[in-house]
């Protein structure tokens, strides 16, 4: 009787896991099936493996350029954010000075701005700097949102480094800059990877600034490019190519997630679970 009850429990649990998996993965499955189909047909099983949609994505718009743009902007954002965040978070995490908590909370506040609140001011700034319709405008605006959040996460990680380690370096005669570059960064590289990953995903996925500051097809990033794929009218959406493009963009992210799953979760947790 007890064994039966346990057995039922196990089956129910397995069903729950299965339902969860279907729930998360089913849309991707449909996207892949659709992207591999020439015309309209059943959407449950791929009937023919037709890569025509994939070819047309690259032929009908500068999609390769779009991917390159996205990569450029994302890496640029990550590099600048990390560079500035590392020194800032060292100061916030390791040095006691007046106004530290206030500064940290301000930084956190900035990362929570609604993007639209800075849109018009940013628009002005971008035009002033001559960055309109230029990828630089995106790096600039993305950094504003990824920097505070990188500082927040890195500060959490830097607090975790034992005090003795830093003091040993001080006694050895290391300057703060040397402590950061020769001790903290090598010790903290997993945290840097985590932070970089989150900043990268954020920049790769951003839409509002990308659609506002960029005009020409050649300068667009991937999310905007996908949103712009259209047919003759609203009722003739080229779903095949759209799904193909979606799959192309998603695959690198899926790989990142599979490889760095633990690190991503670590970063999300470090950034949020406090209080």
């Amino acid at each position: 009787m007890k064994a039966l009850k346990r057995r039922t429990g196990q089956v129910l649990f397995a069903l729950a896991v299965l339902a969860l998996l279907i729930y998360t993965i089913f849309p991707f499955y449909i996207a892949i099936v659709t992207s591999l189909q020439g015309g309209e047909g059943s959407f449950y099983l791929p009937q023919d493996f037709d890569f025509g949609n994939y070819v047309s994505v690259f032929r009908e718009q500068p999609f390769f350029l779009n991917i390159l743009n996205s990569a450029l902007v994302s890496f640029g954002t990550v590099a600048i954010s990390l560079l500035i965040a590392v020194t800032a978070s060292y100061a916030l995490a390791r040095v006691h000075f007046r106004g530290r908590t206030t500064l940290l909370l301000t930084v956190l506040g900035v990362s929570m701005f609604p993007q639209v609140a800075v849109l018009s001011g940013m628009f002005e700034l971008v035009r002033l700097l001559g960055l309109y319709n230029n990828l630089g405008s995106l790096v600039l605006s993305y950094t504003v949102f990824s920097l505070p959040f990188s500082v927040w996460i890195l500060t959490t990680f830097m607090r975790g480094i034992p005090k003795d380690l830093e003091e040993a370096a001080i006694v050895d005669g290391a300057t703060p800059w040397q402590i950061i570059t020769r001790i903290f960064m090598p010790v903290l590289w997993p945290a840097l990877v985590t932070t970089g990953l989150l900043a990268f995903i954020g920049a790769w996925n951003e839409f509002m600034f990308a659609i506002t500051f960029i005009l020409s097809n050649e300068q667009r990033t991937v999310p905007v490019a996908i949103s712009m794929i259209s047919g003759g009218s609203q009722y003739e959406m080229p779903w095949g190519p759209i799904m193909a493009a979606s799959v192309i963009v998603t695959v690198p992210l899926i790989l990142l997630v599979l490889v760095f799953q633990r690190k991503i979760v670590e970063g999300l947790t470090a950034g949020a679970v406090k209080g």
Binding site: D164, E167, A168, I170, V171, D172, G173, A174, V187
Partner: protein
């Protein structure tokens, strides 16, 4: 190398209510001396050490290395080497790089660095470990590397912050001896912080007993043991701790607060008033003695330590049981009566404030 002098050193932590961790400490440390700061946790010994290192700001007073006031110097400029409780080795560097880190920052030539590191590694017998990462080392080996890192830059002063407390007991004894040997070889002024009185007694040229941010006594290990300046030092140093008995002193006569009748004994102290009599467990005798206070007791607990046996005795002299250390072979029966004798020449007398009363006439031999 350098002598060190503290002049009215103070440390105040600002906060909602200011906390004073070190209160007006004056101390003279001679060149080449091995000084141990000992005291219960929170007594300010680590704070004092970190003030010497330059890791903690000095709130008041002055600190001199030789003739130079170092209050405003950075740890590097003070020329100190420090060994931390947690070893604090750089986890991503090899043993060699850990030891060489300070030297590379000074931009020394590669050959001299290599020479120095290898020489120190030989002294510490870790020359076969130079390529390993700290992760791959045992606790004792890590401790050696940490010491090596401190030595290699030939500092004026060595600072040890409870360096052995993470090691297990047998290794601790071994490292204790090695640090002592190392000091005899290098003769660098050393300051060693510990809460372990055995370390303090065995290693120090000079012991500084601290409590609540103040110096309780400074002296050689035997001086601290034989002539504790107050009840705190008397109770803190020595294991098992000294027995204390409340007494009344008048006209060189000692009267015990005895249940049956007050009895008086002549004493080698010149003092009148409420006082505390102290005697170490190992100085209590079981055989009748001249010039000793006889006490009738009953055995309540017996602890066999092997080399000695501790007897806990209830008396009507005080509420706490008296502790007596006797030879390891004795094995008395619990509950039986026992007569003990407190030799007056071994007794300490502390006044109402807890300070030791100086002995009159002939000085007892230690």
């Amino acid at each position: 190398m350098s002598s060190i002098e503290f002049v009215k050193l103070e440390k105040v932590y600002k906060g909602l209510s200011d906390f004073c961790a070190v209160k007006g400490v004056d101390l003279q440390i001679n060149e080449g001396e091995f000084v141990v700061f000992v005291g219960p946790s929170g007594c300010g010994k680590s704070t004092l050490l970190r003030m010497i290192a330059g890791l903690e700001d000095i709130s008041g007073g002055e600190l001199y290395f030789g003739d130079r006031c170092v209050n405003d110097l950075s740890p590097k400029e003070r020329g100190i080497g420090m060994v931390f409780q947690s070893y604090a080795l750089y986890p991503h560097m090899s043993v060699f790089d850990n030891m060489a880190f300070g030297l590379t920052l000074e931009k020394g030539s590669r050959e001299t660095i290599k020479e120095k590191v290898e020489e120190v590694a030989r002294i510490l017998q870790i020359d076969h470990l130079l390529d390993r990462k700290p992760k791959a080392l045992s606790g004792g080996q890590r401790q050696r590397v940490a010491i090596g890192r401190a030595i290699v830059r030939q500092p004026n002063v060595f600072l040890f912050d409870e360096p052995l407390s993470n090691l297990d007991a047998s290794l601790r004894v071994q490292m204790r001896i090695e640090i002592t040997k190392l000091h005899q070889r290098l003769k660098t002024t050393s300051i060693y912080v510990t809460h372990d009185q055995v370390e303090a007694m065995t290693m120090a040229d000079k012991i500084v007993v601290l409590n609540q941010g103040r110096i309780m006594q400074v002296g050689s290990p035997l001086q601290i043991y034989n002539e504790p300046a107050n009840t705190f030092v008397a109770g803190f140093m020595g294991s098992p701790t000294m027995n204390f008995i409340d007494v009344e002193a008048k006209d060189d006569q000692l009267s015990l607060r005895n249940g049956q009748a007050s009895r008086s004994f002549p004493m080698p102290f010149h003092y009148s008033g409420q006082a505390t009599l102290g005697i170490r467990p190992e100085h209590i005798e079981l055989q009748p003695q001249a010039d000793a206070i006889p006490v009738e007791t009953r055995i309540c607990v017996v602890e066999h330590l092997g080399n000695e046996t501790l007897l806990y005795l209830t008396t009507d002299l005080c509420e706490q049981p008296l502790v007596v250390a006797v030879s390891g072979e004795t094995s008395p029966e619990i509950g039986s009566a026992l007569s003990i004798y407190l030799p007056l020449e071994r007794c300490h007398l502390f006044d109402a404030r807890g300070d030791a009363v100086r002995r009159q006439g002939k000085v007892t031999v230690s």
